[in-house]
Amino acid sequence: MTASGPLGEDALAPVVEAALSLGAADDVEVSVSHSWGALTRFAASAIHQHVASEDTTVAVRVVVGGRVGTSSTNDATPRGAEAAAGAALAAARLTPPDPTHAELAGARDLPRVEGRYDEGTAVASPKQRAERVAGLLAALRPGQEGAGAVSTDAEERSYATTVGARHYGLTTRAAASTVIMGGGASGHAEDAAVTLDDVDAADVGVRAAATCAAAVDPGDVEPGDYEVVLLPSAVMTLLEHLTTTFSAKAYAEGRSAFSGRLGEAVASPLVSIADDALGPGALGLPFDGEGTPRTRVELITGGVASAVVHDRTSAAAAGVASTGHGLQAPNPYGPVPSSMVLAPGPHSVDDLVAGIDHGLVVTRFWYARTVNPKKTLVTGMTRDGTFRIDGGIVGPPVRNLRWNVSVLDALASCDGVGSRLRTCSDEWWDTRVPALRLRSFAFSSVTDH
């Protein structure tokens, strides 16, 4: 017996129609999401947590007289959808009118996107994931232990509104990540793709094991301002802390570092960042949580602040079209870039390292938190492999350091961009990023490991 599979658009249609059939409402939006997935987790080189779950949720937004209410249920039957619609209507009737409410999505063609769903991944078995874990752990060197996870997830979503939107999409996502530990050191690697077969779990193990082996006996290091090569997982962390900067809501409210600065140079000319849920290597559906087709948005172009992402509310306020970055209603957070890509450059990691006389290579950042969003000031730690650079060559490992940097200032010091994009993820989104060389990165303290 293996995992479940999609129910199909036709099977979800009665649920959708039951919600849309609500009387006494001006407009109705319904999103039916059937998701199923499993994760095989390991620690100390043994599978210790192995989980699988499946659920279908029905989320309804109702508009009546400018008043808005939402409700959701996982009773994914027509009766459940009717009840959710009724609850949303009842809430709307008790709520003051919302002057910021933007029109629900109408009929729009979706961009043509291929290859976002893989049947084999959707029905991958526990045994298949366990085999990938075994393949990953085969890379362990003597004295090493592995912790991590291999996961396979799938979603089908039907979205519709009473003003004409009708979308259906299927997606899968497979991922492997690991922290290999040994000799007081650790190394990290990860990979994610639409298809389980495209996730090279064995290579994830090889990379992490090699980093761990190189990181044994980390030495002393002094805090200070360093030239650094950030490997892709670390670059991902910097980008994820620009989501407020890239939000049209924050921009309009003056909270964004881009507020009043579109068209200005904010980073090195070598840095170009876009949000592109449709591009090669991206994962996910081609429409956002409000049923708006996703679009590519150039956020930083050659170091210049170019644009911000919109949802339907921020777009209506700004008199522009949504860029397809809305979350499912209700959404007090505003639009979110969830598929960022930093354009690759010409350099290998060795090239980047060769350009530094004295500096550090950072595998990954950890527990980064925004200290001052207007200044993109962020603090965090290094983790799982930090090494000296001496004379353009990767040298001995060092203990982990805490950093306090302005992300945009750090990107302004970029003078080298790696050529290879890797898909790096945190719990919310996937980014496609290369390695970067930065000429200034401030470390404020050193920990004991």
Binding site: M1, T40, A43, A44, S45, A46, I47, H48, Q49, H50, V51, A52, S53, D55, V68, T70, S72, T73, N74, A91, A92, T95, P96, D98, S125, P126, K127, R129, A130, A134, L137, E145, A147, G148, A149, S151, T178, E253, G254, R255, N331, P332, W366, R369, T370, V371, N372, P373, K375, T379, M381, R383, N400, R402, N404, S444, V446, T447, D448, H449
Partner: protein, 487 residues
Amino acid sequence: MDMTGEALTLAERAVAVATSGGATYADARLVDVRAEHLRVRNGEVEAVRSSTSTGIGVRVVRGGCWGFAATGQLDASSVEATARLALEVAAAGSALQRAPVALAEGDAVQASWSTPIDEDPFAVPLEDKLDLLVRSTTTMLEVPQVSIAHGSFDAWRRSSLFVSSEGARIDQHITQCGAGLGATAVGESEVQNRSYPNSFGGDCGSEGYELVRRADLLGNAARVADEAAQLLVADECDADVTTVVLDGSQVALQVHESIGHPIELDRVLGMEAAYAGTSFLAPGDVGRLRYGSPLLNVVADATTPGALGTFGYDDEGVAATSTPIVTDGVLAGFLTSRETAAEVGEGRSGATVRAQSWAHLPLIRMTNVSLQPGAAASLDELLDGVDRGLYMETNRSWSIDDKRVDFQFGTEWAREIRNGTLGKVVRNATYAGRTQPFWASLDAVGGPSLWKAWGLPNCGKGQPSQIGYVAHGAAPARFRGVQVGVR
């Protein structure tokens, strides 16, 4: 949903299928969660959302391995299929098994438990709850420098039925709610926030709407907005090494990050290494490791009335209890599960295991991990011993390393302390340190009248990631020789 009858039949059927399929242990949690979330911004309602979610999670031990599967389909066929999937999942793990899972003693308890509440938060009229947030945010906007005023209300009711192959049958209903305000003042190059009663969506507890009424949001709205405006023009916090007095809410977060997480025994044993990290603690440190000053006394108490981490029975069916964690500055215990307790030779679990939902695997979570009150009768008494220092209130940023040693926190509000008195307001205040030296610098703790349980509804852990609802009781406390104004 009726948590008896049909629900009991389904849960028992899941366990029966699991045991007949070879499980040496099995449990089923059938959970129904009802939630309400309200958001108001600048006097306008931004979100009114209600939700319901019902499902069953089945956990098995088969061949010495854990397996877990969950479904939102509550019909007999789907539930039985889910139990069989849990068995298949466990079987797949056997190829990479270390030691067979062993469990500390469990209870075949038959029980019911409900959160004691005065006023059902779901029964309060929606228009009344919205009106409170609208009036509060409108009041905050009367301060010219405040351009964003937001208010929030959240409520959850989790009804669960726990059935185990050992004979446990537990019916539990947990009610939780919370509310809060926030004012944002935006300047040319600064954005400053001020929150009340706390910055994590306000204050939350396992209580009814009486928690919200007691918070007096409307009565504090003007002050919150005024403080945001003050921060916009305040001086920057200077870099220094000085005495710091933290308010109770910030002490609560300090406890969370630098005590609550490192004492999770699954972290100590390496089970969270791939995501949240490990711990600087080892099992043999109990009774030996000096965690901090003799004034540091910490207890994990899942019975604290009204606290967010309070329940009757954890998700392994073990009755809520109180566990000493640090006594007179020395490590005294860990947060344990049945599996981890057995691994370190303890006879019983500390009853800390909970899951975010029916769809998530239950994990060791903090309960109410609280710094016990000290002797200082007032904040003035804490300030009195300070010639020069910094008072810091309400968390703004937080970060700590993967072993829970090196940390840095920032607060929304800070005031200089000069000769025992609060002085000028400073902004962008941060402080940093290492866990054991920091707690060793603790030299005064506020007394019982200053102590409060602070709820944190956003503690992340596990893969797939899940949220835990935890709390920390704390009073203001004083620390010497702390690095502030981190650059």
